[in-house]
């Protein structure tokens, strides 16, 4: 998780520096430089989105496990209450 975040940060900074160094005349002469940056940008966005999806999936798994455990605990408590009632009778 950290790796991707760091990679996005570093790539962004590098690309900004690279684009800052280019003049409009240079880009006009070599339009593919800008196109490459655009493609990279889209790719990075896809990575960020994927990262978010993964995070949300994990979060959902954890939540589901937590709810399962809670349900189990509730079941055990109910059984315990029934046993105590029987004992009291």
């Amino acid at each position: 998780m950290l790796k991707i975040s760091q990679m996005v940060y570093e790539t962004s900074i590098k690309e900004i520096e690279k684009l800052d160094a280019l003049t409009i005349q240079e880009i006009e002469r070599h339009p593919l430089l800008l196109k490459t940056s655009q493609l990279k940008n889209s790719h990075v966005l896809a990575l960020i989105k994927q990262q978010e999806i993964d995070y949300k999936e994990k979060d959902l798994d954890l939540r589901t496990t937590m709810y399962d455990l809670r349900q189990e605990r509730n079941g055990i408590m109910k059984q315990n209450i029934k046993l105590q009632e029987q004992k009291l009778k």
């Binding site: 998780m1 991707i4 975040s5 760091q6 996005v8 940060y9 790539t11 962004s12 900074i13 690309e15 900004i16 684009l19 800052d20 280019l22 409009i24 880009i27 006009e28 339009p31 800008l34 940056s37 655009q38 940008n41 990075v44 966005l45 960020i48 990262q51 978010e52 993964d54 995070y55 949300k56 979060d59």
Partner: protein
């Protein structure tokens, strides 16, 4: 029972109906003669009941007797004209009222002015001093002070904290967002209206120097547009850097587009066969001319008083030759579609009005064949075209 309308009275009325031309005069004479104080209504009822045709009561003469209609008007044209012109000299309605009363020796009140203002649509300025006084009184009773001191904080909305920076009359100049104000102090710079301050940790109450980050509106727009403003797995600084990269690309692309760079290309060329879409219907056409138009896009205004600004972009419009006649109207690029497999079809054009053929050699040949063949010369209308089409297709080795 005493009769109101005796025979004598009625006879007099019949006689007087020929003598006088106004019912009011008849009434006056009647009242004088019989020492009564009958009204016009009573007279009218009697004339209806006993079928006596009396002349009408004229309004002009009525005015002579009605003091209400002949009264002197309070709000004359002169007074109204003075009130209208007073707007330029006085800012407060109270001042206008005082000057008005002095000039015309009247005792008009603010209530009178209010009524006249709305009746004649004078658009007089408000009595601001009086309003301010009453507001101040209510402020003192409710909050204990009339005006906030410079540096006082107020909260706007759910999470925005503002600081008072001046006593200016313009509200937008009086208050500033605390984050902006503190950022300016921390870094000793003046932020423009295009700059925005982002809280890096997302806590809008954390105004520490490290937590405030200056960025542009574009960055925030990109963040929100791509739903990156609430990312859990990636920190905000990274997302901001990514958006700044995107902004950089966008700015460069715009610069190149304006200067006529790589992306300055029209979608269609002259002579290209295109498909025009109008709702659910389609039409074939040939591009005659490509027209460039400079359009100001993304028009926006900085604050309430800023001038509207926007980037220039070039839009392409097309003069398309559709099935009939000439076209002077321009067609938008978004309504035209490219025919990807146009190579697979033989596009033939027929001039609708004249039944003459297109300039293609195949069609010319087909036409000459029809003319030269004695069995086909008698063909006319649709059957002629069908034959011509079939021959052209054969010549082009085209099979349906």
């Amino acid at each position: 029972m005493r009769k109101f309308w005796t025979e004598e009275k009625l006879e007099w009325l019949i006689e007087s109906s020929n003598l006088y031309k106004d019912r009011r005069e008849i009434l006056i004479q009647f009242n004088q003669r019989f020492c009564t104080n009958y009204t016009l209504r009573q007279l009218s009822l009697a004339s209806n009941e006993h079928k006596i045709s009396l002349p009408r009561a004229s309004i002009q003469k009525y005015k002579r007797y009605n003091t209400w209609l002949t009264r002197e008007k309070t709000w004359t044209k002169e007074k109204l004209a003075w009130l209208l012109s007073s707007k330029d000299t006085y800012d407060d309605r109270e001042d206008i009222l005082n000057a008005f009363n002095k000039k015309f020796t009247m005792k008009a009140t603010l209530k009178d002015l209010k009524a006249i203002n709305s009746k004649y649509r004078l658009a007089l300025p408000k009595a601001n001093r009086l309003i301010q006084k009453s507001l101040e009184a209510s402020w003192i009773s409710s909050r204990g002070f009339t005006e906030r001191e410079i540096g006082d904080e107020i909260s706007w909305g759910n999470s925005q904290v503002c600081v008072k920076v001046s006593h200016s009359k313009v509200k937008s100049e009086r208050y500033m967002l605390k984050a902006r104000y503190l950022y300016q102090i921390y870094h000793n710079i003046k932020l423009s209206t295009k700059d925005c301050i982002i809280f890096l940790d997302g806590d809008t109450n954390n105004f520490s120097k490290d937590n405030l980050y200056k960025s542009s509106r574009f960055v925030i727009g990109t963040m929100v547009g791509h739903k990156l403003n609430n990312t859990k797995s990636i920190d905000k600084e990274t997302v901001i850097k990514y958006c700044e990269w995107k902004e950089k690309i966008f700015n460069l692309t715009c610069n190149i587009e304006i200067k006529g760079g790589i992306n300055m290309k029209a979608k269609f060329k002259e002579g290209e066969v295109v498909l025009y879409q109008n709702g659910t219907t389609f039409e074939l056409g040939i591009v005659k001319e490509v027209v460039e138009r400079i359009v100001k896009q993304h028009l926006r205004q900085d604050g309430l008083y800023g001038k509207p600004t926007g980037e220039d972009t070039i839009q392409f419009c097309y003069r398309v030759w559709y099935h009939t006649g000439d076209t002077s109207a321009l067609t938008d690029e978004r309504n035209l579609h490219e025919i990807k497999n146009a190579y697979a079809f033989l596009v033939m054009r027929r001039k609708a009005d004249t039944s003459s053929i297109n300039e293609t050699p195949a069609r010319q040949l087909a036409a000459s064949i029809i003319d030269d063949t004695p069995q086909l010369t008698e063909l006319e209308g649709e059957s002629y075209y069908e034959c011509e089409d079939a021959l052209t297709e054969l010549i082009n080795e085209f099979k349906i």
